[in-house]
Amino acid sequence: MAEHEHAQPDVAGYVLGVLEPDEAAAFAAHIEGCRACRDEVADLAGAGELLARAAPAVDVPAGLEARTFAAIAAADYGPTPARRRRWDGARRLVAAAAAVVLVGVGITVVRQATEPEAAVAQVIELEAPGGGPASAVAHVRRTPTGGVIEMEVEGLAPPPPGSVFECWLVAASGDSIDRPNRVSVGTFTVDQDGRATVRWDFSADTTRFPRMGVTIEPDDGNPVHTSQRVLAAKTLL
């Protein structure tokens, strides 16, 4: 068969193994004598093999984009001074946009015109990580030395005898059993209906410890994290 000036479309069918058996045999013989088609087979072979490794299509949960941009807006509260100045102009616009977006996912950023920084209350929703009726809503306000957390808990089964619930602010990274990287905010228990209302001052930098969670801990006065999470914030502080 004559040489082609340009590679023929059957190159793709050949590489993918979808030619009829007689076509495939004829094309294999053809590329022996046709450089253009042979080079194209070599060029496309890798893509043909990779195709077979395609992961199944993934369904991303609804609202993940909005929640991620809420986390980014929340993380925008306490950057370094240089960064803060740089973002200040854009932030007013973002805050207005964020307030609209965030209502839908359960966080509301309330910004009062008179006290632009200190009056910002971030509302963090917490839920049981493994599913279940337990939930909480925390209002977090920053102060110059840290902040205040007010949290209302409901649907949380009372802790086993000798243990309490402990609220933590957890580092964005590097928190493990061997090397915990979290700070305790305070401990609490719930009433018979599984409810609690608590208020703590904290001094942790929430840009370093942006994740909030509640665990069950032995009531032995040892401020070391040992146990299972019962509540976790849906978004970053």
Binding site: P9, D10, V11, A12, G13, V15, L16, G17, V18, L19, E20, D43, L44, G46, A47, G48, L50, L51, A52, R53, A54, A55, P56, A57, V58, V60, P61, L64, E65, R67, T68, F69, A71, I72, A75, D76, P79, R86, W87, A90, V94, A97, P129, A172, S173, G174, D175, S176, I177, P210, G213, T215, H225, Q228, R229, A232, T235, L236
Partner: protein, 197 residues
């Protein structure tokens, strides 16, 4: 001729290098303070791959979601450190994601059944394998619907081209040329995603 238009207007074959440059440009705009359109465009390019990575490495939808969120909080914070001479945006994003995946895996309450992800990239490590599969899926998703469809029917290996033509209701010749253009577009998209083709 059915499908002829699709084959002539082959928008998927824009040079991969140009599109790679576009992503680097987005990161530069984020670093310069564009927290809106540029960050959102970048996010949409990576959301599916990051979420899929989280599901496969951590085996848990809520951890996968955390992986997406924390990766992008950090992409936003670190955008100024991105150096296009040192690697692609994909490498930048997935290097960040790898560290966060390790942290999430090690978190005491996570208790995943999956093996622990390695902290450093190495050929053949589980995360690299997962990433290749996700990158191929992402490249497929970036093709025109007609191109994606003909490739999806082809790589399953249970149909020959004449049966694919029948399935799509187009002439065999159209299937042949469409498959050819689709595979070329796929190769370009794979190169853009950082896996050889």
């Amino acid at each position: 001729m059915t499908g002829g238009l699709v084959d002539c207007v082959d928008v998927d074959e824009a040079p991969a290098s140009a599109r790679r440059g576009d992503e680097a440009d987005l990161v530069a705009r984020v670093a310069a303070g564009d927290q809106g359109a540029a960050l959102r465009q970048l996010y949409r390019a990576y959301e599916g791959r990051l979420y899929g990575l989280g599901l496969r490495l951590l085996g848990d939808p809520s951890l996968a979601e955390e992986l997406v969120q924390e990766t992008f909080v950090r992409v936003w914070r670190k955008a100024g450190q991105f150096d296009p001479d040192k690697g692609s945006v994909a490498t930048f994003v997935f290097t960040i994601a790898r560290r966060i995946a390790v942290d999430l895996w090690r978190r005491p309450s996570s208790r995943p059944f999956q093996p622990e992800p390695a902290e450093e990239a190495a050929p053949g490590d589980p995360m690299e394998r997962v990433l290749v599969g996700l990158t191929v899926r992402h490249a497929l998703d970036s093709l025109s619907p007609a191109h994606r469809e003909v490739l999806e029917l082809s790589y399953r290996k249970d149909l020959k081209q004449s049966q694919i033509a029948e399935r799509l209701g187009v002439p065999l010749g159209t299937v042949k040329t469409r498959t050819f253009h689709a595979l070329r577009a796929m190769k370009a998209a794979l190169e853009e995603g950082g896996v050889g083709g």
